[in-house]
Symmetry: C2
């Protein structure tokens, strides 16, 4: 099973010829999730051959245009392309009115059900889970209520060593416990040790998304030890005042969060249009946290 | 003075890699006008180095997403780029609520005044004029109320033949009438003939925009003898039923309108995403009206 992040837009409020406004397409154990949806996201999804009809969850961090102005266009296109499968959008409450109003004036009724799950930018909670993944939200601190997200693989069961299990002639009823990593004591008093009959699985991975936000160490607890962290780095440290004033972060601040949370790898994005390349962001962040990349539109990262 | 149309998007409801949703940038005698504003228009404007801050008029034909989903993003960017000059938007009444709602939730106040002029898709009337141009709207027939537009240069004054006028020793008070093409009878009874003292100007040009619309001969009267006509041609004639059902036109129907209105030149656009090229549209329309082009994104046409 794969867990990968496709960067669809790595820019900030003003789109440039190289950086579209924010959006990411996440595939985690065959769950397809879109995070944010700036203007032009539907074109980016098509450009990178994403499975757009497989997207069942759209997470919207906040209601600044560069994070949601592409949503209504994407929904319209999903409809025109024949979608009949429901879709759930998680985001600020006003989003539902904005989307429904625009769809209504066009006189078209979507061919699929649209569910809205309101997020208030103020809570740490589980917003979705199934047998393979969990999606969590947590508060970021920006000029308007803003939600961070963590996508986690569920803790995986161990894999049965079927051959050895059958040779031992054990009852099939033991399998669930052994797979969960639990020893079983039989009526005879014999202990069946899970390590003898199962293999360990690959560890469960996790991805955290923090955009947009001022430097805020309170988020460290929500993203501790994730394998991959995307954190906004709108500015460099020489614009620290501007970052504070606009409730954004610098590359060094993002790296500080990554270090404190002991994450595996840091992705920097949401670069202001004033920067032609991400070189200086990389240099600045590397001084604090080594395993860091400045993302570009189209990049793919495995978690 | 120039009068030119830049095609920013020539596609229909579903954007493709080659055809963006509808938008056109019109420069007429140093007036800068945007007609429709599908998703991604701001990026197209930048790509073609349009003078975006010079745009003072935005005309929105109707509230199907492919004609207006890019408007709020464009307005946000104009603000971020420092605009302080007012802007007038002409379009269906609900547009104002849609735009203001989205700007409000982001908590930002635009640095410029936004004026909305409601159009109901049901009237033929002058919606703007100054000393150089006129903008008219007229009804199209689509699934929702839809406005067509005509942009006309004002009828130009003749140019004074200053040398001959001075030689004749005539009073300067005669000039305005002569420039308007009127002969003047002096108190002495002598007739001063305007043709002797003025040159003719280049004729005033006009451009008509018809998208989206079903084939409707009633529009002929509104666009009669314009120099350049843009008419939608979503389909070919083999999809005549589909065209009727969706209130769109075929290439042949667009050409029929052009012929009946005796326009100078016909531009076809708004091609359905099912067509990879416009070759067949051109072939079909040419059978009815010779001076026809199928537009592509980025094309520029002089009126």
């Amino acid at each position: 099973m794969s867990f990968e992040i496709r960067i669809l837009g790595s820019g900030a409020a003003l789109p440039t010829s190289l950086r579209n406004p924010t959006s990411q397409y996440v595939q985690c154990n065959d769950r397809h999730i879109l995070i944010d949806c700036g203007e032009g996201t539907q074109v980016q999804l098509r450009k990178y051959h994403a499975h757009i009809q497989k997207i069942n969850h759209i997470l919207i961090s906040h209601l600044h245009g560069d994070h949601f102005f592409g949503l209504v266009g994407l929904l319209s296109s999903l409809h025109l392309l024949g979608r009949d499968k429901g879709l759930t959008i998680y985001g600020p409450q006003e989003l539902e009115q904005i989307i429904r109003l625009q769809l209504e004036v066009g006189g078209a009724k979507l061919g699929f059900e649209l569910n809205f799950v309101p997020l208030n930018g103020n809570e740490h909670k589980l917003i979705f889970e199934d047998k393979l993944i969990e999606i969590w939200t947590f508060p970021l601190r920006h000029r308007v209520p803003t939600n961070g997200f963590v996508i986690r693989e569920k803790i995986k069961e161990r894999k049965l060593n079927a051959e050895r299990f059958q040779e031992a002639g054990l009852s099939l009823t033991l399998i669930p416990k052994l797979k969960q990593g639990l020893d079983v004591v039989l009526d005879s008093g014999e202990t069946i040790c899970y390590e003898e009959y199962t293999y360990p699985q690959k560890p469960s991975k996790s991805y955290a998304y923090c955009s947009d936000t001022i430097f805020d160490e309170r988020i460290v607890e929500y993203i501790r030890e994730v394998d991959l962290l995307y954190h906004e780095a709108t500015f460099l440290n020489d614009k620290l005042d501007r970052a504070k004033q606009t409730f954004h972060s610098t590359a060094e601040q993002a790296a500080t969060i990554a270090k404190e949370a002991r994450v595996g790898k840091l992705l920097l994005g949401h670069l202001s249009a004033r920067y032609e390349t991400g070189e200086k962001h990389l240099e600045e962040a590397s001084g604090v946290f080594e395993n860091v990349v400045v993302v570009e539109d189209g990049d793919v990262y495995n978690v």
